[in-house]
């Protein structure tokens, strides 16, 4: 029997090393675990996608239905605003709203499924040993698949209605999508873990996701809130990502340059500042490792507290 390289698992109570070295070891262990569990991650994602559309007559049509519903409600809001201000609906305005609606529906869907992912899989969490992070991650993965369909539809539709400025600024899109995915993953890890310990989290998340669309510039643009309101609205970590997508795609704006607009009242409002991009990057770059460490340290208590 070849027993040259066997995995060794030592479980002891004591902790050694400095806070930094422990943080690094937590991060590397999570990375290593996820790499080793990619097969499981794939199977769970596949399961989540499959069961979502099993016994559903519309099947994958549902993947388009949700974002479409958000786009249509956005259309209503835009129409009302256009009527009120006396300005006509522009393809860029519509496209800008649609390009923010799809990422938003991705975020809502992913967080909704991920929050309850650990508790919903209680039977395996308490019975089988595996890296627990695969559960929230597969919920995000399944939503990626869903929203991927909507993104493709969007990529076809937007140029057709003439809402895309073909400039180099389009290169910002992949970066923004990566940031969106990273931010969503961090939220998914944090919320699934918190919901395991306190079931209140699920209800808080439900309420926040329902009303979040009013606090996030999806149907409106931050500039409509006035100079101070715009800055406050951009503090929402989702705002720079959504606004960045809108500006780079529909206006061809380079995100490294600021952009201002003058309101009818004469006030000058900052529409974009490179600081917003920095803010989004810092939030995700700090947020993901922090939630990974938190998750890594608390996952040993999952089976006991669930």
């Amino acid at each position: 029997m070849a027993t040259i390289e066997l995995p060794v698992r030592r479980t002891s109570v004591g902790h050694g090393g400095s806070a930094l070295s422990r943080a690094v070891s937590d991060l590397s262990r999570m990375g290593h675990d996820m790499l080793r569990s990619r097969e499981l991650l794939y199977q769970l994602t596949r399961r989540d996608v499959t069961i979502r559309y099993k016994q559903a007559v519309m099947g994958f049509g549902w993947a388009l239905f949700m974002p479409l519903l958000i786009v249509f409600s956005g259309l209503m809001v835009q129409l009302a605003l256009a009527n009120f201000s006396g300005r006509a609906l522009s393809p860029a305005g519509l496209g800008g709203m649609a390009i923010k609606a799809v990422p938003w529906s991705f975020f809502v869907g992913a967080i909704g499924f991920a929050t309850s992912s650990l508790v919903a899989n209680m039977n395996i969490v308490t019975k089988v040993s595996f890296p627990r992070a695969v559960l929230p991650l597969s919920a995000v993965g399944a939503q990626c698949f869903d929203s991927g369909i909507a993104f493709i539809a969007l990529a076809i539709l937007l140029p057709v209605i003439g809402a895309v400025e073909a400039t180099w600024a389009l290169l910002w899109v992949p970066l923004l999508l990566v940031l969106l995915l990273t931010f969503t993953t961090a939220c998914a890890l944090l919320l699934s873990c918190a919901n395991l310990f306190f079931r209140d989290v699920k209800y808080i998340v439900q309420v926040l996701l329902t009303f979040g669309i009013f606090f996030t510039p999806v149907f409106f643009e931050p500039a409509m809130l006035g100079p101070r309101g715009a800055t406050i609205a951009m503090l929402n970590p989702m705002s720079p990502l959504l606004e960045g997508l809108r500006l780079s795609v529909t206006l061809g704006h380079n995100l490294l340059e600021p952009l201002t607009t003058t309101m009818a009242s004469g006030a000058v409002v900052t529409v974009w500042s490179p600081l917003y991009l920095l803010y989004a990057v810092v939030i995700t770059v700090v947020g993901l490792p922090a939630t990974v460490i938190l998750f890594q340290r608390s996952q040993y208590a999952f089976a006991e507290y669930i």
């Binding site: 060794v8 698992r9 004591g14 399961r47 499959t50 069961i51 040993s129 306190f198 340290r297």
Partner: protein, 416 residues
């Protein structure tokens, strides 16, 4: 030097909490803050609502060894296995596991009812740590083992519970781990499948990998394990040869071989007991000697009887109980005396425990030493009961056969 797969449990303790954790928001918020900020280990002392579900358990399992963990419900067996697989973390102590662990615990836990059998094999396999390539390679084998070939593309929710369990077991049984952990999965499916599953497990345990089994089927523990561990309320009550540990579990005699008064006013006490031989053939005679003392400070309750109970460890049943009261033989009312019993071991071969007892009006009042007895098969007795046969042979002349009795040449040919 190559490292051998194995398990070491070194003075492991695990604390659980009774009841709800937080009764009010006032308790909850500080607790939540502490839980998320605390980096060090949790307190390893008992709080007022805590109890030890596993306390100071140590054992080691090396290649070729199979440890059976036995004990009543709530003794801490499953918690021990969860600590072993890494699902739970110990409060104190160290656990070392070398090698990939394959656990046959709740073998169909990961099944999703809406997915087909095929999809579930891949899903459950992945949950248990099996690669897709490996599953694909052994897929047919798994399905054939479970015997669900014709239903493999049907949703698992339409499976019978037996089919469900069989498929789960089949996946787990094809894991190829370095270390195997089995929790009460021996009673899965119908009789035929149980036999197949048992054979497979024996194959795995005999392949030389370290195995830990939790089971209430004591006869299986006896058949498969090289050693056993008895748990009671999280504590190790005994460890050693399965026969001895099962005997100990069975009689509940935790104080070893010393006698113990079950009632403080037991009028007789057993001081010593012995048997003529620890191993005898089935149907042979056995001498038991019991030394007793009358505890004169306690009044007689009437119908006192000193005797033995013969307990089959394989069947986990008392097969016989007899004493002086069954004759009846009046016991001396004072002093020390000796009782000689001669028993014919008309019992099936296997391990037994011969327990000595004092009864007063049929209630056990004093438990004496427990004696271990191994009954071996003999030519006369191999089976479950002794039929005391008498046989005779009488030659019959061929001409007394009727015309319809002929030698069966066709059978004779088949036999050759």
């Amino acid at each position: 030097m190559p490292v051998e797969p194995g398990i070491v449990f070194d003075a492991v303790w695990k604390k659980f909490q009774r009841g709800e954790r937080h009764d009010s928001l006032r308790d909850l918020i500080p607790a939540a803050v502490r839980r998320f900020t605390r980096s060090g280990p949790a307190s390893d002392e008992l709080g007022e609502n805590d109890f030890w579900v596993v306390s100071d358990v140590s054992f080691a399992v090396r290649p070729g060894e199979c440890l059976g963990i036995i004990g009543g419900n709530g003794a801490g067996k499953s918690t021990t296995l969860k600590l072993l697989t890494g699902i739970l973390r110990p409060t104190r102590g160290d656990i070392t596991v070398i090698g990939r662990v394959g656990s046959l615990i709740e073998v169909s836990a990961g099944f999703h009812p809406d997915l087909t059998g095929r999809e579930n094999v891949f899903l459950q396999g992945a949950i248990m740590g099996m690669g897709a390539a490996n599953i694909r390679k052994r897929f047919d084998e798994i399905v054939a083992f479970a015997g669900v070939e014709e239903f493999i593309d049907m949703a698992v929710k339409r499976y019978s519970s037996g089919m469900n369990a069989r498929l789960g077991f089949a996946i787990a049984a094809h894991l190829d781990p370095d270390v195997l952990i089995i929790d009460e999965v021996l009673a899965v499916g119908d009789h035929t499948f149980q036999q197949r599953a048992f054979t497979r497990l024996q194959q795995l345990t005999r392949s030389g990998m370290p195995v830990v089994i939790v089971s209430h089927q004591l006869d299986r523990v006896l058949q498969m394990c090289t050693s056993a561990l008895l748990l009671k309320r999280g504590q190790v009550m005994g460890v050693g040869h399965p026969r001895d540990v099962i005997a100990q579990y069975f009689t509940g005699n935790t104080a070893g071989n010393d006698g113990e008064a079950l009632k403080a006013d037991a009028p007789y006490e057993i001081m010593e007991a012995s048997i003529s031989a620890p191993t005898i053939g089935s149907g042979e005679f056995l001498d038991v000697t019991i030394t007793c003392r009358r505890r004169e400070e306690h009044p007689l309750q009437g119908n006192e009887s000193v005797g033995v109970a013969l307990v089959s460890l394989a069947g986990a049943t008392t097969v016989a109980a007899l004493g002086t009261g069954s004759i009846p033989l009046p016991l001396p009312t004072h002093g020390v005396f000796r009782l000689d019993l001669r028993l014919q071991a008309n019992v099936a071969p296997g391990p037994y425990s011969l327990d000595t007892w004092v009864w007063s009006t049929h209630d056990p009042t004093f438990r004496g030493p427990r004696l271990s007895l191994e009954v071996m098969p003999t030519i006369l007795f191999d089976g479950a009961v002794q039929l005391n046969p008498t046989m005779s042979l009488t030659p019959i002349a061929p001409e007394s056969f009727g015309a319809n009795v002929r030698p069966r040449s066709d059978l004779a040919q088949k036999a050759s």
